[in-house]
């Protein structure tokens, strides 16, 4: 313990008193309540504003579906929700089939967003190569965009300015990657890892998946355990799709009758 205190003092003497701060001394970040089950995993009942939140996991594990749920909620709530397609491999109008999520992380398609009932007027898609994506994300975070969804990693040199800009404006930063690099993982304040538990089949048809969401890193609250989520894919050729079940029911006021006949 004494050695640890000595090390802390040495770092503070050498790099300044602000170099190390106890987590308890930091002001808690304001949560953005997205209405998804991820709110409970963060420990502050929402996604932290002004901080980077990572959704990670290899293969098809539901991270992109949950990111789309967050994005749709942000389009309804914020004036500007921006997707930064960092891979530049955006295929206009390409559709995603189930089980192909790993290939499509980084390729944003608004078609996949529709089941979450987005407000498309608030949505902007920025397609840039990975080098320029950091600059774009930083500029938008400084300007005060409500939510920025990063479909890929941001170059290391832009992580500091990006975090500072988001911190100042309260922008919600969400990153979706299979496995984050060291710098990207270090910059995140909340990291949630997903791993698929099993597929859900109905009448020989793949209808969804069961996934385990774990809080891998949490700098905004004491880390909580894990949660099991059931993600159901939208089925059927017609619109509107059935709503996916990942949203927390908002109707505490019980709806007695939704039709005209009482």
């Amino acid at each position: 313990m004494q050695e640890l205190d000595h090390a802390i003092n040495t770092i503070r003497v050498r790099f300044g008193s602000q170099a190390l701060t106890r987590a308890a001394e930091l002001p808690p970040p304001q949560p953005w309540s997205s209405g998804t089950p991820l709110d409970h995993l963060s420990g502050i009942e929402g996604i932290p504003r002004g901080r980077l939140t990572l959704l990670t996991g290899s293969g098809t594990c539901g991270k992109l579906t949950l990111a789309l749920g967050l994005l749709a909620a942000a389009t309804r709530e914020f004036a500007h929700a921006v997707v930064i397609d960092a891979r530049g491999g955006f295929k206009q109008g390409s559709s995603r089939t189930h089980g192909e999520a790993s290939e499509f992380v980084g390729n944003f398609d608004p078609w996949t967003l529709l089941p979450f009932d987005p407000e498309l007027r608030s949505l902007t898609v920025v397609r840039l190569d990975p080098e320029a994506s950091g600059e774009a994300a930083t500029a938008l975070a400084r300007a005060g965009a409500g939510l920025i969804l990063l479909m890929g990693e941001v170059p290391e040199q832009w992580l500091g300015p990006l975090e500072a800009g988001a911190n100042r404006s309260g922008t919600v930063l969400i990153g979706v990657v299979d496995a984050p690099g060291r710098a990207f993982a270090h910059a995140s304040s909340l990291s949630l890892g997903f791993s698929r538990a099993e597929w859900i089949w109905d009448r020989d048809q793949l209808v969804g998946l069961r996934t385990i969401a774990r809080c891998l890193k949490n700098r905004v609250a004491p880390p909580l355990g894990e949660s099991e989520l059931v993600i159901r894919y939208p089925l059927g050729p017609r619109l509107p799709f059935e709503a996916p079940v990942l949203e927390v029911p908002l109707h505490a006021v019980e709806l007695e009758c939704a039709s005209a006949v009482v």
């Binding site: 953005w32 500007h80 005060g144 965009a145 019980e254």
Partner: protein, 382 residues
């Protein structure tokens, strides 16, 4: 227009929650019944009937004299409680609270919060209705159970089976409707507005439009009062200037949060010090631009306190804002997040387009969503 209606007791009844559970009748002697509780209804007591008749029907009821001032005070209280939940709020003394939730970002949250606040104010679960206008929303609320919400999607179909006595007409006009055989709103909706106008005048035309679900009426928005103040009493009396500064800062904070909720700013500021023995001292100033934040208010009041030479120990500190004005913002909780930064975000996107080309930034617009060809589903606007 999407209107949420919360139906509660008449406010004359709500000011006496201790009498809940028994029959209560409110009305002046030799006058008509103003309000009656649900427990009095089985005895045939209805608002509008002579009080003597009501006494005959339900002699064991508790009779209260009307107190319009107390009811108006309660109405103001409920209105101010609901003010930040919807852009337009109207509360009536007969226990109807309307909120125009069209355009509200999280209308479900607003409705849920309205239910909670009404329950706190009245002491009973309100009935809730959601419809395209005030009339259908009120009838939807009347048909729901306490604490539940009935949503009307097709107002004409919803209204059709209801009795025509629900229309806002006087007794004579309702009797006339009955004589004409128009006993349901569906029957009223089936005839032309001009035909009923020839029978009942302008009210007839209005009634037909209501019965059809066209909702010609609009809400009368409640506006917050144009005066506010905050004060603190000291026991024992205070002589320390630092304590005064501390308290005045806290009072400025309270006033700023209230101004923020109302979207108002103070055009005139008055500070009053009440002494233990002497006459109170006061200082007042008119400001050029309305003050709305704690920093602005304390920036004006702080120097006054610092240079004030009190003549005796101070027992009370009052900060009054007698003249309020719109501060260029209102009902902040209803705004979309980041609205204030919209121009900066658009400018940042434009700068990106200048550097990397127009195609870098695009917004999807639904085109042929049902098309099997993916590239036909959305138009992309740069």
């Amino acid at each position: 227009m999407r209107i949420c209606c919360g139906l509660t007791n008449h406010l004359e009844l709500a000011k006496r929650p201790d009498l809940y559970g028994g029959p209560v009748i409110v009305g002046g002697w030799e006058e008509n019944v103003i309000a009656s509780s649900e427990e009095a209804s089985p005895f045939g007591v209805r608002p509008g009937m002579p009080l003597r008749h009501a006494e005959h029907l339900c002699p064991h009821a508790t009779f209260l004299a009307p107190d319009p001032d107390a009811a108006a005070g309660l109405r103001e209280l409920i209105s101010s409680a609901l003010y930040d939940l919807a852009p337009v709020v109207e509360v009536r003394a007969d226990g109807i609270a309307w909120l125009d939730v069209s355009g509200v970002v999280r209308s479900g949250t607003s409705i849920r919060e309205a239910r909670r606040r009404l329950r706190t104010a009245i002491g009973r679960e309100p009935r809730l209705g959601l419809g395209p206008g005030p009339f259908s929303a009120r009838l939807a609320a009347a048909s729901s159970r306490p604490g539940r919400l009935v949503q009307v999607e097709d107002p004409r179909a919803f209204l059709a089976p209801l009795a025509s006595r629900e229309l806002p007409l006087d007794e004579e006009q309702l009797e006339r409707l009955d004589l004409l055989g128009l006993r349901t709103l569906g029957a009223v909706a089936a005839i032309g507005p001009r035909e009923l106008e020839s029978q009942l005048g302008r009210a007839g035309r209005h009634a037909v439009l209501l019965a059809r679900g066209d909702e010609p009426g609009e809400l009368t928005p409640w506006r917050p009062p144009q005066f506010t103040c905050a004060h603190r009493q000291f026991e024992p009396a205070v002589e320390d200037r630092e304590a005064l500064l501390f308290v005045s800062r806290a009072l400025c904070d309270d006033l700023a949060s209230e101004l923020g909720l109302r979207g108002a700013g103070a055009k005139r500021v008055r500070v009053r010090l009440v002494y233990e023995f002497n006459q109170p001292d006061e200082r007042e100033s008119i400001v050029l631009h309305p003050l709305s934040s704690q920093a602005e208010l304390f920036g004006l009041i702080g120097p006054w306190i610092k240079e004030w030479q009190p003549r005796a120990p101070i027992t009370e500190l009052w900060i009054e804002l007698p003249v309020l004005e719109a501060a260029g913002r209102r009902q902040l909780r209803l705004w979309s997040g980041g609205d204030g930064n919209s121009e900066e975000v658009v400018a940042a996107l434009e700068r990106l387009q200048e550097r990397h080309g127009d195609g870098v930034v695009s917004k999807p617009r639904p085109a042929l969503l049902s098309s099997p060809l993916p590239n036909q589903r959305f138009d992309w606007v740069s």
